[in-house]
Assembly symmetry: C2
Homo-oligomer: 212 residues x 2
DNA sequence: GCGTAACCCTACGCACGAGTAGGTATGCTC
DNA sequence: GAGCATACCTACTCGTGCGTAGGGTTACGC
């Protein structure tokens, strides 16, 4: 008997996205280990074997979440920071996009950074993404430096970039925990710390340890 | 029959430290969840019920590790940054002590930051410690500001401090993953990023978002 | 209108690891 | 050297949750 459609039996592509949505929510709420596949399935309005059929084991599912959220974030940033702008403008737009993304996807951020960092199986995945970020930032700095006719050793550049990325991640955490905070304002503050320091470096000013 | 002592039957205080040593090692190697109490016990050269008798459940054990390592770190920093020095000197000494500690206690650092951050039960514990760090840094900045006859809103100060702490943590992670890197040099680099930017802020220079 | 493939379910097996019960040996006090 | 506390062990119980076996139902091609 043909009852109401009962909105079931959706095509695979749709269900996979629903599952990923649910997974991101649950992982972010409980953490990787405390999250159970049963809860994810229930949250997605589907039964467990379906999750296994489509997305594989728990680890694979988590990696899939990581990938989707990470890609979205990188796209948000890349889309905002056009490569033909001056360095400070690029940095500003990149930061604004970044904090905007975190503010809008607090769940995704929690999955991405708070969970993935601790668990060895995913640390590599995460490190690769961070490396791409660092590379982008280092590229900006290097570009600005050459425009000034200066150069810095590649290692130093990378470490500075690493510090900036770290500071941003830290503020992003802060933002995720303060729902009332304004992403734009946070980006401005980060820009103040980052750019004022970086600009000094770009102009050849450096700090040297006291010798005694 | 009195055989060789077989180095057993140690007083509680000693065994507790051995257990904590083992726990820090195993937690840092495996992560909180993947670490088993059996492995910790074995690594400590003792049987599992002893661990339960002395340090309690797995969570309590982890908190104990967190406490010990955290206290050691805070002491290392506090001992180095005497409060009567000028701000830049304090910051420098604090950073040097911090990176020195991380370089020497990579295991402890991994437990502290990589594990504790992700798992909700310990996030609070960790946040409290970080809050103390942020407070110290914010205090330095504030002190330096007043010396210059300036003031900044407390929130901004805290956020800047938060960013600096985050950048340091990030570089500490980097340091923990690069055994060949020199803690002192890392501290110098961090000082460059942190102080050059902060000094600008202290002198009233700020960056403002473009208005268009 | 009938096969076949995609979608979806209920119900289980099974390993792993936290925590404990219950007992033994060794040193310390008096 | 009797009594007692402390250090220590082997050997279990038992919940939890991952992953699967095996079977049902709807759509779609032909």
């Amino acid at each position: 008997m043909s009852t109401v459609p009962a909105f079931k039996r959706l095509p695979r592509a749709v269900r996979e996205q629903q599952m990923l949505d649910a997974a991101v929510r649950v992982f972010s709420r409980r953490g990787f280990h405390a999250a159970s596949m049963d809860e994810i399935a229930e949250d997605a309005g589907i039964s467990k074997p379906m999750v296994y059929a489509y997305l594989g084991t728990k680890e694979e599912l988590f990696v899939a979440c990581l990938h989707r959220e990470g890609t979205r974030m990188m796209q948000a940033i890349a889309g905002a920071a056009a490569p033909d702008l001056p360095a400070d403008e690029r940095l500003w737009r990149g930061l604004r996009a970044f904090f905007g993304f975190v503010g809008a996807h607090r769940d995704g951020w929690a999955v991405l950074y708070r969970q993935a960092r601790g668990e060895q199986p995913f640390a590599g995945e995460l490190a690769a993404m961070r490396a791409r970020l660092v590379e982008v930032v280092a590229g900006m700095l290097d570009h600005a430096l050459r425009a000034e006719g200066r150069e810095i050793a590649a290692v130093d550049l990378e470490v500075v970039a690493y510090a900036l990325v770290g500071a941003s991640e830290s503020l992003a955490d802060w933002l995720a925990d303060h729902p009332e905070a304004d992403p734009e304002k946070t980006a401005t503050r980060m820009m103040n710390v980052a750019w004022l320091g970086a600009a000094q470096l770009l102009h050849g000013v450096t700090w040297r340890p006291p010798t005694h």
